[in-house]
């Protein structure tokens, strides 16, 4: 952390987006995390993505649990709604919020402890139910706040800062998200914003449960030799299957690509994802193949990153439950409580 607030002065060229805000307007308080924490890069990427998408800050709700990662919503989108929930309970609070007001953009920010240990059940059920949200896990494989014990996502055989080897199998959050049919699954690295920012933008636009596992090195406790989540290790073993360049509708694409290298995916809302393939045979719309591919590469010691899966037809909890289009919190007493006559009619129909 730093003792100074970030000066309000900015580069003279700073521009406003269509919502009338500069990128700096999407910032929050100054981070109190350790210097060099990957989480701060993720905060910066969320800021960048929201600015680029012209999002109205007051139409965003950011919810988190407990942990280093869950502190971060304080450091971005200072003018949005926020809820720091109980440890591992972000998904259920977010589900409730989403049911009450389906019109906000829900950003669930969690960590490997919050989602893979204490909140594993919550994570699984939230994805399973199809809550429309962006579920971000800032995954560093370590409990930073309690000084560096292995978390549930630490690789088997990786070494702690004190030199102890991890005997346990890791929880594979990407694998679970694919299995439970999240409509958007991606993995990214906090040290590569060029890859991360478009993924966050695409996830925000996806109308279903969008999950991004972001490997985010802990500089204080998990950035040493023998760690599989250090800056060096991730850079060496990063195997990106694709890169999202631009989300269309705002800019014309001017870059030239070799034929077959680029695929366009039209999303639910009509916007187009333009994806540059890096792994030639990887098809991010085939969930089964995606699961196999990620597992195969993981067995080879590679960390597969990029857009791993995008459901061709996304749906969410409100569709499954057949709720009304109007957010529940906007319904009046007469709609919510139709009266004795209606109750009698329902009861009669059940007799």
């Amino acid at each position: 952390m730093t003792y100074l607030a970030k000066p309000k002065l900015h580069h003279p060229s700073l521009v406003k987006n269509q919502a009338g805000y500069t990128r700096r307007d999407y910032e929050g308080k100054i981070s109190t995390l350790c210097a060099g924490c990957g989480h701060d890069s993720i905060s910066a990427s969320i800021i960048q993505a929201c600015w680029e998408l012209d999002i109205q800050p007051h139409r965003v709700a950011k919810l988190s649990g407990i942990g280093c990662s869950s502190k971060t919503p304080d450091y971005f989108l200072g003018n949005s709604h926020g809820f720091n929930t109980v440890h591992g309970r972000m998904p259920s609070v977010l589900t409730g919020a989403n049911l009450a007001n389906r019109e906000l953009l829900y950003l669930g920010v969690s960590g490997d402890g919050d989602s893979a240990s204490i909140g594993l059940g919550q994570f699984a059920h939230c994805i399973r139910r199809g809550v429309n949200m962006v579920y971000i896990v800032e995954n560093n494989g370590v409990y930073g706040l309690t000084k560096g014990q292995f978390s549930a996502t630490a690789s088997k055989g990786s070494k702690s800062k004190r030199g102890v080897l991890n005997p346990d199998e890791p929880v594979d959050l990407v694998g679970m998200a694919l299995l439970l049919k999240a409509t958007f699954v991606a993995r990214a690295f906090s040290g590569d914003k060029k890859q991360l920012v478009p993924l966050i933008k695409a996830a925000i636009q996806n109308p279903g449960p969008s999950f991004i596992d972001i490997i985010s090195p802990c500089v204080a406790f998990n950035n040493h030799e023998g760690s599989t989540k250090s800056y060096d290790y991730v850079r060496e073993h990063n195997s990106a299957v694709n890169r999202l360049d631009i989300i269309e509708g705002r800019d014309e694409i001017t870059a030239d690509y070799a034929p077959g290298e680029v695929i366009n995916i039209t999303q639910h809302d009509g916007s187009v994802l333009r994806m540059r393939k890096l792994a030639p045979d990887y098809d991010p719309t085939d969930r089964i193949k995606a699961m196999n591919y990620v597992q195969e590469r993981a067995a080879e010691g590679e960390i597969v990153t990029g857009l791993l899966y995008l459901a061709p037809e996304a749906a969410d909890l409100h569709q499954y439950l057949n709720t009304v289009d109007t957010p529940l919190n906007q319904l009046g007493a007469s709609e919510l409580c139709p009266g004795t006559a209606h109750l009698e009619a329902i009861n009669a129909s059940l007799r």
Binding site: Y3, K6, L9, H11, S13, A35, G36, G38, A44, G191
Partner: protein, 619 residues
């Protein structure tokens, strides 16, 4: 791009825009911090070391540092912090009031005489003659006297100071300030002032066996205006600088009620404001060019306007109108600025009828020139076709090996701070010459770059950034100032205002130093930088690289700091120095100490052992 060589003294020097722009390279941020700490004497000495006349310059300097100041560029694009004035526009972006802070150090210092150098009891036997006791000669004397040289200052006026004493009016520069700072120099000892003694022959001086002669006689001849009626009405037409000099020495104490000042430079500004104080009720400045092209410093123009003096632009003097030698007015031709297809400006008559302006006196301030009638042309000292001496740009030596030129005498009219810079160089040349060294072989300045880190988030400088706007210098009541030419107009900052102004300084001398081998490319610095100065990107040529920066290049003349390729990705770090606030947040957020804030202090090479080859010691 080639990685930046930060070991080259010039690289970081350029980042300190003010210091780089100052001819004497005064360490501005260093003394501003001392003022903030209330250490006025120390701040004064930092100045004195480099520019010799802090009290004088703190009132009269042409301030090349201020247009260069980074604060102006930073405020340029930050309209929000500027005060709203009419029509929703922010107030003008402004640099730090460097010059006025210098005055604060001079006004509030304690007795510093004990800190000044003294001439050694034993002279080194070398005698130096300085002709004209202005800023250039006085600087030579200050630099050389402590080394044991015997200095003789020849001055035609009764007191030393030159231009500073004769032409800068007392309401801008009180005599006491000149006396004090000239006294600091003559007090060193081994300096003889022969005041009131005009040198009529350089040959005569050389014949007296001086080891070196410095010509610091300024540009003493005011340009005259030839126009019909000039000779007939001569009694009421005065050459600006001569008139100012007579006012300074009390020979002139009044002027007519209606005064025309011709010219748009700083001398014209001094003339019109002086005339206003000596009985001129209707004083006008009349200039050939437009307001913006007038050569006077913007603040001097503003000060004259503040005192109720109108400027009449685009009027070319045509003739003096007189009744039997009694000046009654002047005719002017109206012109307009016309630009050709290359953007060059010329003044074309508009064809409108001539303008007639009534007046009792005219002050001609349309430029000044060098004049060397006292230098014989057969003593081996060459002059060029314009009558200027041939002087080496580096050593200030003329074609006569013993004769050096400094100040306005060397390359034509400039200003005090340039004269000081010339003086330092002349002193270096003389010291080297009399130690039998090659004059062009000038050592690099001494540079010290040292970390300011005190703790995890503590720096030995105040890295918080103030959003304060430039403080205004209070003025003495015009009822007093316009009546008495000796009453100083500007009152200077009080301690509180001075402190607020110091906080606007961005400490550009505390450099962001990057050590590529320590970098783990975590992007923390990129994320925190409030000015988006930092980029990690694949290497490319400068033009292409500038396209890839986090924030676009606004001033291509500002350098990019380029690192060696980084260990993991082979990318490079590129930092645009342009609007860096030197807040140190990059270094605070850096987990590995790859960024550090290091104070860059440069000590220019002055006369003495520092300018010479290391002396061989006995074994």
């Amino acid at each position: 791009m080639k990685p930046t060589e930060i070991s080259n003294p010039d690289y970081f020097h350029k980042v300190v825009d003010c210091q780089w722009a100052c001819p004497a390279h005064t360490p501005v941020p260093e003394y501003i911090r001392l003022i903030a700490a209330g250490r006025y004497s120390a701040a004064y000495m930092v100045n004195w070391q480099s520019n010799v006349f802090p009290g004088i310059l703190g009132r009269t300097c042409d301030r090349p540092c201020e247009p260069a100041c980074r604060r102006g560029r930073v405020e340029e694009g930050n309209v929000e912090i500027r005060k709203p004035v009419a029509h929703g526009e922010g107030s003008q972006p402004e640099p730090v009031a460097i010059c006025r802070l210098k005055r604060v150090a001079a006004d509030n210092k304690d007795d510093i005489t004990a800190l000044l150098p003294k001439a050694p009891t034993k002279s080194n036997g070398k005698r130096i003659a300085c002709i004209g006791a202005g800023p250039a000669s006085l600087t030579v004397a200050r630099d050389l006297a402590p080394l044991g040289y015997s200095i003789t200052l020849f001055e035609s006026d009764p007191k030393a100071g030159g231009f500073m004493r004769t032409q800068v009016p007392r309401f801008r520069l009180p005599e006491a300030v000149i006396d004090e700072e000239v006294g600091f120099i003559t007090g060193i000892g081994n300096i003889e002032l022969r005041a009131g003694q005009r040198v009529e022959s350089l040959k005569h001086i050389l014949d007296q066996g001086y080891d070196a002669v410095v010509v610091g006689t300024g540009a003493p001849r005011g340009r005259d205006l030839e126009a019909p009626g000039r000779t007939e009405a001569a009694k009421h037409i005065h050459i600006g600088i001569d008139w100012l000099s007579s006012v300074s020495f009390g020979h002139i104490t009044s002027i007519g009620k209606r005064v025309i000042v011709l010219g748009g430079g700083n001398t014209a500004m001094d003339c019109c404001r002086s005339a206003k104080r000596l009985g001129g009720e209707d004083v006008k400045v009349i200039v050939r060019s437009g307001y913006d092209e007038m050569k006077a410093s913007p603040w001097e123009k503003e000060d004259a306007i503040e005192e109720g003096i109108p400027f009449l632009n685009y009027l070319v003097p045509k003739s003096f109108n007189h009744n039997n030698g009694q000046l009654v007015g002047m005719y002017f031709e109206k012109v307009a600025a016309v630009y050709d297809d290359k953007g060059r400006r010329s003044l074309k008559p508009t064809g409108e009828p001539d303008v007639y302006v009534e007046c009792d006196d005219v002050l001609v301030a349309i430029g000044q020139e060098n004049a060397f009638p006292w230098i014989e042309r057969d003593i081996g000292l060459e002059f060029d076709q314009w009558g200027m001496p041939v002087v080496d740009q580096v050593t200030f030596q003329s074609t006569h090996p013993k004769v050096f030129f400094g100040g306005d005498a060397a390359f034509g009219p400039k200003n005090i701070i340039w004269a000081v810079a010339h003086g330092h160089e002349c002193a270096v040349s003389i010291d080297k010459m009399l130690n039998q060294e090659e004059l062009h072989d000038r050592p690099q300045p001494a540079v010290n770059v040292i970390s300011q880190k005190m703790g995890i988030h503590e720096w030995s400088y105040d890295n918080d950034i103030s959003a304060t706007l430039r403080q205004k210098v209070p003025w003495q009541d015009q009822k007093l100032t316009l009546k008495n030419i000796k009453v100083e107009v500007e009152l200077g900052f009080d301690a509180k205002t001075a402190y607020a102004e110091t906080q606007r300084c961005l400490n550009c001398d505390v450099q962001t130093v990057f050590t590529p081998r320590l970098c783990i490319e975590c992007d923390a610095c990129v994320d925190i930088c409030p000015m988006d100065c930092i980029t990690f990107t694949p290497d490319a040529e400068e033009t292409e690289l500038r396209q890839q920066l986090t924030a676009p290049t606004l001033h291509p003349d500002q350098d990019l700091y380029i690192s060696q390729p980084l260990r993991m990705t082979g990318r490079i770090m590129a930092k645009d120095e342009d609007v860096c606030l030197h807040c140190g947040l990059c270094a605070e957020r850096c987990p590995t100490g790859a960024w550090d804030m290091q104070k860059y202090f440069i000590e220019m090479t002055h006369a003495g052992s520092g300018c010479r080859k290391p002396a061989r010691r006995a074994a």
